[in-house]
């Protein structure tokens, strides 16, 4: 468990390198109930019909990966909020970085709450997904 008292505003989360592979996106789409569907997440042709250069990663999959990134950092802490804006489509196999910065810490009801700005950055540092999260850590 990450100790709440050791966390300070400005602390960095990551960066953690990540690649959304076609295989992982297909696996995610199967769990999502899209088995066999032709859509912009799995089909180059369907993506191109929508004006995209190729298949993209579902927004909710990026949210799930960011949630994992945050809860792994919290090491046992719980996610209270994840609020994201999907600014740019993320193509398959693009090397991205999961990044966060602590922006606030406070105590509430015996728990330590940590507010974090969180991003998925592209190779040029562009923020493809942006947002904020609140994590709860016990023992404040």
């Amino acid at each position: 468990m990450r100790p709440f008292n050791g966390i300070q505003v400005g602390d960095a989360l990551g960066p953690v390198e990540h690649v959304f592979t076609t295989e992982a996106v297909r696996a995610f789409c199967r769990v999502w109930g899209q088995e066999g569907e032709v859509n912009r997440f799995t089909s180059p042709e369907a993506a191109q019909r929508e004006g995209l250069p190729g298949p993209i990663v579902p927004g909710i999959m990026t949210a799930a990966v960011l949630a994992r990134f945050l809860t792994e950092w919290a090491d046992g802490g719980g996610l209270r909020l994840l609020d994201l804006i999907f600014r740019q489509p993320i193509p398959h196999h693009l090397p991205v970085r999961l990044v966060g910065t602590v922006t606030d810490t406070r105590e509430e009801g015996g728990q330590g709450l940590v507010e974090v700005d969180v991003f998925i950055q592209g190779p040029e540092g562009e923020r493809m997904v942006t947002g904020r999260a609140i994590l709860a850590l016990p023992g404040a």
Binding site: A24, A27, F28, R30, V31, W32, G33, E50, G51, P58, G59, I60, M61, A63, A64, V65, A67, R68, T71, E72, G78, L79, R80, L81, L82, D83, L84, I85, F86, P89, G131
Partner: protein, 157 residues
């Protein structure tokens, strides 16, 4: 100036129930594999029980899988040719376990337009609450979807 937008205003804040959605062991494990989740609370049932949990815990984003299966009516009267998920806020309120049966109530909260570099876009904001089989609210989700009108990039919505 924002383009005019033709949509069904009677839908605003009207509740649309959906479900039930069952949280399955296979679904949770497959979700964890797809997103690289390794926390044994989500992947190892014996470990979860040793930690005092009734069964495997579902990762906090797991229930977002149900969003696309919600019964939501068509809102825009203008034909659109592209829809994208523009944003999502998830507020987990209680643990969700394998074996839970969830129901959802979704409401259209807001519809607005923006004109960007690529033309007019409509934004639809939906709020959904998920409730478990004991009537406990387990999560709130706020989704924003962006839609583009058919035809020219700057066509009115």
């Amino acid at each position: 100036m924002s383009p005019s937008l033709d949509y069904d205003r009677t839908l605003l804040d009207k509740p649309f129930p959906s479900g039930p959605f069952t949280v399955t062991r296979e679904g949770v494990l497959a979700f964890c594999r797809a997103v690289g989740e390794r926390d044994p609370l989500y992947t190892d049932e014996e470990y979860a029980r040793r930690q005092g949990r009734p069964s495997l815990l579902a990762p906090p984003m797991y229930l977002t899988l149900f969003i696309r299966h919600l019964d939501r009516p068509a809102v825009l009267k203008t034909p659109v040719n592209r829809r994208l998920h523009a944003g999502m806020a998830v507020e987990p309120l209680r643990p969700v376990y394998v074996g839970d049966t969830l129901t959802a109530t979704t409401r259209l909260k807001e519809v607005y337009t923006k004109t960007g570099r690529t033309g007019a876009m409509a934004f639809l904001v939906w709020e959904t609450t998920f409730t478990n089989q004991r009537g406990e609210e387990v999560a709130r989700v706020r989704d924003t979807f962006m839609a583009r009108p058919e035809g020219e990039a700057d066509a009115p919505l």
